[in-house]
Each structure stands twice: as structure tokens, then as C-alpha cells.
């Protein structure tokens, strides 16, 4: 991929992400119905001019539920990645900077975390600590920091031998200050890329969890739990399966394009 293609990816990805952000913020104005309003006589209506994307088995408007669901997806995606970045950056900086046994210990910790199927850990912890949105954000973040930690450690390892870092140390800067002021800003671009890709996968994980009934609890609409109802109406209401899934795919694709495009673009400039 050349630089121009990479830039295209960034633009397409960014447009999708911005569109999503606008939808999430303007949800009350964009929705045509109350997303939670049950209207049994209008259950399982196919897409029409009143119900743009049809209704579910309780007669709720699918379009409005998807519009409001974007809030949950974005919140969980960004929140979880925030948690993961905090943990990953802190541990990665410490491991790379101090080296020695601290480094070995932390990196073995990363290896241990990677031995567990993420979905197993997620389900167990969510079931044990309870499934509020805040818990879901925390848990997805807690199981997703390992990649960032490895990345930041590698950056720190190579940066700490560089002259400007040596100079900062000679000047008597404290370890914490060197890490914060000099290491971190220089390691930021790969972190940014992996954060963008991370939001996409966190949204996928949240929708999977919600689909299994261990994520966001109905009636609060999330893209995953909207699909729970779709499972029961598989043979009769195609719109209930197709639209939520397509929304997830489109969104995650946006974040992936943006992230990969950024990576290539940064690599080539």
C-alpha cells in the first residue's frame, strides 16, 4: 500500500467514525420513535416509511434502537480502550525503562494473560462482578491491555538508549518525569494506531457479550442485545438480523480502516 492509498483509508475510516459520533450525540433528534416504547399491535413489521428498519417482536422501532445503541457501543469501545491504554502504557513504560527483573516479571504477566481465552475471562468476571455498563468497560479493558504493553515496552527499550533521553537523565530528571515527558510522547503514534484498532475490537466484544446476554441488559438497546431478539425470529423477520449486524460490521470496518490507514501513513512519512 502506498501513501496515497493509506490516506484514502484514513479518510474513509474517519468519515465512518465521525458519522457514528454524530449519530451517537444526536440520537434523540435522529430517532423517529422512543427506542423502548413497546407497541405490541405493531410487532414484527417489515421496513416501511413509518418504521424505517422494521420493528422487533415487541413492536419497538429497530432504527431508533440502533441509533441509541450507537451510544453504548461508542461508550464501551472508547472506555474499554481507555482502560487498556492506561494499564498497557503504564506497565509497558515501567517494563521497558527499568528492564531486568521488573521487565521479566511484567512480561511473564503478559504471557500469562495471553494464555486465557479472552472470552472465558470476560464471561467469568462479568458474571462474578455483575454486568453494569461500567463493569463491562472495565472488564474489556482489563483483558485487552497486553498488546499495548508489549508495544510501549518495545518503544521504551529502543528510545532509552537515544541521546536525548540520556541527556535528560544527565540533567537530573527523575525517572517518572523522563518517562512522562520524553518516552511517552515519542511512543505515542503506535499507541494511537493500536487504540483505534482496539476500539473496533472492543465494540465487537461488547456486541458478542450482549448477544450472549452477559453484556448490556435490555431494555437498554445495544447492537448486540438487539440481536438476541433476532435469534427468536430468524425465520420471519430478516430485517432484525441483517440491519444490526451490518451496523456493527460497518462501524468496526470504519475503525479498522482508520487504524490501518494511520499505521501505513505514519510508517511512510
Amino acid at each position: 500500500m502506498n501513501r496515497r492509498a493509506a490516506l484514502w483509508w484514513v479518510w474513509i475510516g474517519a468519515s465512518i467514525v465521525i458519522l457514528l459520533a454524530v449519530v451517537a450525540v444526536a440520537a434523540p433528534w435522529l430517532a423517529t420513535h422512543d427506542p423502548d416504547a413497546i407497541n405490541l399491535p405493531h410487532a414484527l413489521q417489515p421496513p416501511s416509511t413509518t418504521y424505517w428498519l422494521g420493528t422487533d417482536s415487541l413492536g419497538r422501532d429497530l432504527y431508533s434502537r440502533l441509533v441509541f445503541g450507537s451510544r453504548i457501543s461508542l461508550l464501551v469501545g472508547i472506555g474499554a480502550v481507555g482502560v487498556a491504554i492506561l494499564i498497557g502504557v503504564a506497565l509497558g513504560l515501567i517494563a521497558g525503562w527499568y528492564g531486568g527483573w521488573v521487565d521479566s516479571l511484567l512480561m511473564r504477566g503478559v504471557d500469562v494473560m495471553l494464555c486465557f481465552p479472552t472470552f472465558f475471562l470476560l464471561l467469568a468476571i462479568v458474571a462474578l462482578v455483575g454486568q453494569s455498563v461500567a463493569n463491562i468497560i472495565l472488564v474489556i479493558g482489563l483483558t485487552g491491555w497486553m498488546g499495548v504493553a508489549r508495544l510501549v515496552r518495545a518503544e521504551a527499550l529502543s528510545l532509552k538508549e537515544r541521546e536525548f533521553i540520556q541527556a535528560a537523565r544527565v540533567l537530573g530528571m527523575s525517572d517518572a518525569r523522563v518517562m512522562w515527558r520524553h518516552l511517552l510522547p515519542n511512543a505515542l503514534s503506535p499507541v494511537l494506531v493500536s487504540a483505534t484498532l482496539g476500539i473496533g475490537s472492543a465494540i465487537l466484544v461488547e456486541s458478542g457479550l450482549s448477544f450472549l446476554g452477559l453484556g448490556v441488559q435490555p431494555p437498554t438497546p445495544s447492537w448486540g442485545n438487539v440481536l438476541i431478539d433476532a435469534k427468536g425470529t430468524l425465520g420471519v423477520a430478516w430485517w432484525q438480523t441483517v440491519f444490526p449486524g451490518a451496523t456493527i460490521l460497518f462501524t468496526v470496518l470504519g475503525f479498522n480502516l482508520l487504524g490501518e490507514g494511520l499505521r501505513e501513513w505514519l510508517r511512510r512519512s
Binding site: V112, C115, A127, L234, G245, L249, N256, L257
Partner: protein, 326 residues
Amino acid sequence: MIGYLVRRALGLIPLLFGITLLCFVVIHLTPGDPTIAGGELNPKISLQARQRIIEFYGLHDPLPVQYKRWVKRLLTLDFGRSLTDNRPVMDTIAERIPITLTINILSMLLIFLVALPIGVIAAAKPQGGFDQATTVLVFVGFSTPTFWLALVLMRWLGVQGQWLPVSGLHSLGYEQWPWWQQAWDAGRHLALPVGVSAFGGLAGMARYMRGSMVEVLQQDYIRTARAKGLPERLVLFRHALRNALLPIITILGLSVPGLLGGSVIFETIFAIPGLGRLYYDAVMARDLMTVMGLLTISAILTLLGNLLADVAYASADPRIRVGRHS
């Protein structure tokens, strides 16, 4: 090679220790008392069940004593009895491992069969039409929620067309059929789960394969092979592919946890009685005994997968096989 493998196996010991420690932490994760998971009034856990958890893990003992007991039990693979059906947890797990293993091995084979040629052809002409087309497909693959794909395939291939069965592993009354009909029946039942599970890993594998091939194709020995006039087909498949496959072996080993985790979703959707379904049911019933047992076993299976990948790598790489360590 033996020395190399012994060193790799020894390296797993601290990991094993870490795994037991982390599992132990998860047991104690619940605020207050692990037995009141999901709230004091959780009706899913009866008083007797609570009592059994407290007794089994010795929750009133000091932490180091608890940990020692839990590791000692682990060494004999004793995870206690399930809170729902009172069978030893390990028996149920042992019963279900073959099902999940079969599906995952089949899906790995499928991934390999599809991703390998895609990666090789894409790498043969980087930036070519095929490469760009597959790059786009890889992105769509990465972004597709597999549980949704399962629902979509279920609807069009299973419910609407009735071409494939959508749940379980056998049809009703399959016991009376001749073996070839049983095999055909099992194959039809496995088609969707294996297909969906493979789809999840396909994009990643195609990408790794392409990356690995591109890297190998820049090596000096490839230029030499071309310079001495070998046809491109031989260069690609004899010289490049064999070397490009080496890192893929490690990737296969690393993909074990992802496959196990993914099995929760498709085994639940397709009603397949494997490890994933067992885990999901245990979590929903708050059966802490089964959850902890399976969580530990899954991590150990991952370690075994990594070790297996090391063995495969060692026997495939002549630098290690012959004994000169790199």
C-alpha cells in the same frame, strides 16, 4: 533438538504458576465473599451450594493455605463437583473436549487450506489486483461479528433453504443408521459451525501468510534461485513457501485461546455440547466450580498448544532439528 525443547518446556513453569495465581485471584474477585456472586440475593446460588463452595475452597482459611490446597487439587485435576448436576467437573470437561477439539481442528484445516493459497498468490505480486482485492476482503473479515454471520448463515442455509441442520451434532434416530449415513449426517451438522469458526480466523491467517511470504521473497536465496533460472512456480512453492510456513506454526499455537473463546459463541448458537457451551451454561447458572475448572483447563490447553507448536517448529526448522541453536 531435545535440549531446545526441554528449555522451552521449563520456560512454561513460571507461566503455569502465573495461571494458577490468576485463577485464584478470579475466585476472590467478587467483592466480599466469592459465594455471593451477583449479589446477596442471587437466587441462582442456593445456601447449600454456597456452603459447598466455602468448604471446597476452604474460604475461611488464610489465603496461602487456600492457595496451596487449590494447587494441590489442581495437580490431580480435581476441580470438585458441579453445583448443577453434582458430577465431578473434570469428568464433564473430559467428555466435552473431543467435540470442541474436533471442530477446532477441522476449522484450522479449513483456514489453512483457504488462507495459504490466498497469502501466497497475494504475496507473489504485491500491490497487484489480487493482493488489493484480498486486502479488502481481509478487512471485511476482521470486522464481521462471527455470531452475526452464524445467524445469517443459519437463516439462509438452515431455516429458509433447509439445506443444512442448524443445531446439535446428530439428527434424531441416527443410531440406527449405517455408518456412512451417520458420517454424512455428522458432516452436515458440522458444516456451519466449522465454517463460521474458520471464518473468524481466516482473515488473520491470510494476512500473516502474505506478510511472511513477502518477507521471505526479499531474501538473498530467493534472488539466487531466480538468478539460476528456476521457474517462478518452483521459487514460490519450493524455496519460499517452506520458509514462510515456519512462523505460521507459531501463529497456529498462539491461536488456541482465540479458538476456545470463539467456541463459546458458535457452540451456544448451534447448540453443540462442547467446552464453549459448557462454559456458557456454567456461567449462566453461576456454577463457580465448573467455571473455575474450565478456566484453568483452557489456559493449560493453551500452554499445551504452544508447546506443541514449539515441537512442530523444532522438527520443521533444520537449524533446530540438527541441533545448532539459532
